[in-house]
Amino acid sequence: MTYRSNLERVLSDGKFAVTVEIGPPKGCDPNKIKEKAKIVNGWADAFNITDNQTAVVRMSSFASCCILKKMKMEPVMQITCRDRNRIALQSDILGAAAIGVKNILCLTGDHQSFGNHPGAKGVYDIDSVQLIHILRNMRDNGIFQSGDKILAGNPDVFIGAAANPYADPYELRVDRLEKKIAAGADFIQTQSVFNVEKFSLYMDEVCSRGLDDRVHILAGITPLKSVKMTERMRFFVPGVDVPEHIAKKMENAKDPKEEGYNIALELISEIKQIKGVHGIHITALFWEDIIPSLVKDSGLLPRL
């Protein structure tokens, strides 16, 4: 069997996958992203490149993926519907596939009012489910959204999507995941997991519907760096559920960095035991340098 990407190969082999997020710099200095990439190189199966996350302008996801490709690292290119219509999105998909991007993660995108250009006009021509569907049709059926035929090469990529087990209404979360799978998602990266109990219930429902056989689910992990960051995640980041016992641990810690690191290790070891979880997706916001030890100490990599 041939695989589209290394990530697809790892997941299809039934191994517990690791992906790591790399946020492009707020500037055009390629060394900035190269430095971050060097730190985490070898410590994940693929590396997510964000697309102007939280609606803050950064180096484009596409260009950052090119830089990673040159470093022989495998990117997961994130694309959002916030800034581009279906014409630009499909064009970028073709371009990305042309330079050898093998994983594309489809998102609706954080609303522009949260970013550093709140006066921007949001596009939202299509939503993430529709983007997944378009990408699947481009890949498998060789057609654009309009029904027009692709003439010179279908983008043969592994299709990713996001899922949030915590957002309201809770009852709809698994339905929405199922919809993304039906639209064409091959793998899923979840919102950062802090509330393991609730995540576990979500995964029970996922497994009882047999969805874990139809899609690869990577659970999100975000190491908490400080009390301030914990508070921010707890109260201001939409759709994140940081339970009180974790917040307390951070508050009472002599060294919050060390505590945050240990919490992340605990979370990984608990999540690994949950049926249906096929890997971990680490987002260490402005704290990339702890990723190698986190991946190593949690026993994720190197694989034995």
Partner: protein, 212 residues
């Protein structure tokens, strides 16, 4: 209804300059929004006179967006209009432009900001209801419109950001997807949300002129 809000008075004064100015309001939406009815016209007139700006007259258009009505009503105020060099319009963006079309010799000034097509919830409390997308399918969403009422116009269910039934973009705003969900749940028809909604055909709203 077209929802408008008053511009800041000092900004209006800056544009009106020395005048003299003629004021036109609107009998419909701007009257109900309290931005361009009889009362607001009078209020504006007095405020401008206080600033030593000459006001030559005023009119309540019925409604401002009606080209032929505007022409007819303007004829009745010919003398007052002739003495003015500017017309301040207290109506929506459409009303201002209809007045512009028949007032080539005057500077036409907009006295309001036009916000959206929405509902009057109670006095001075309005909420957007329609984006005028040219293809209404609210019937498939329990009579609720995610195109105009979700800041991301999501057609396949809620994003991950709604909290306690409110939108992540505006904590005062109901998440439209929660309202749709609640309504379907009550009818035991949640399965309807599983249907994949295809991309919207935005070209339906592109035609800017129609003769029906």
């Amino acid at each position: 209804m077209i929802i408008t809000k008053k511009k800041e008075f000092k900004d209006i004064v800056d544009v009106v300059g020395k005048g003299p100015v003629f004021i036109a309001g609107c009998s419909e939406c701007a009257t109900i929004c309290h931005t361009g009815g009889e009362e607001e016209i009078l209020e504006m007139k007095n405020a401008l006179i206080d600033k030593k700006i000459e006001v030559t007259g005023s009119i309540l258009l019925e409604p401002a967006c009606h080209l032929l009505n505007d022409k007819r009503l303007f004829r009745q105020h010919k003398k007052e209009l002739e003495r003015a060099n500017k017309i301040l319009v207290l109506a929506c963006g459409n009303g201002v432009q209809t007045v512009s079309e028949i007032s080539k010799d005057w500077d036409v000034i907009s006295g309001t900001d036009t916000l959206f097509l929405g509902e009057i919830k109670r006095a001075n409390d309005f909420e957007k209801r329609c984006q005028m997308c040219g293809e209404c399918f609210v019937d498939t969403f329990e009579g609720l419109c995610p195109v105009s009422r979700c800041p991301k116009s999501m057609l396949n269910g809620p994003c991950g950001g709604s909290k306690n039934g409110k939108c992540e973009v505006d904590s005062e705003l109901d998440c439209i997807w929660i309202l749709i969900y609640n309504s379907l749940k009550e009818k035991d028809e949640l399965h309807r949300l599983n249907e994949l909604r295809d991309c919207k055909d935005w070209s339906k709203s592109l035609k800017m002129r129609r003769t029906l």
